[in-house]
Subunit: 79 residues, 2 copies
């Protein structure tokens, strides 16, 4: 079973990497880009076969390791 | 209009960051994680109102700046 975790900075947390991308896109002539936020995506191959249990387990992984929950929010999708 | 770009290393390209996550999860007692791949997600706020045109423009952004197309694949979703 595959799971995809998407981790983004919370709203209000400064995202200098996203800001740098926005500036670089403007330099390349891409106008009309009003904001950019960069985050991480982590794809997990799991041995589990129960989707609900897998989703709960991946949530624990996010809380303990994958995300910095002070400044980042996370979302799990079971694929 | 919002667009989400997901950028992953192509299959066969070594992903040491994913490997490090897999190892750390094992250390924390999460067994049953068979593989981990880490990628990037970039969320763009666009001024464009035409979804098809926006998707094509974001594709050009990926080719020119966002992804290293030698080792990374990209996917665009218009939200």
């Amino acid at each position: 079973m595959k799971a995809r975790v998407t981790i983004m900075l919370k709203n209000g947390v400064l995202d200098p990497q996203g800001e740098a991308i926005r500036h670089a896109l403007g330099t390349l002539g891409f106008s009309g880009v009003e904001g950019v936020r960069q985050g991480k995506v982590i794809e997990l191959d799991l041995a589990a076969t129960d989707a609900a249990a897998a989703e709960a387990e991946v949530g624990r992984m996010c809380e303990q390791l994958l995300a910095n929950t002070v400044i980042e929010s996370w979302r799990v999708e079971i694929l």
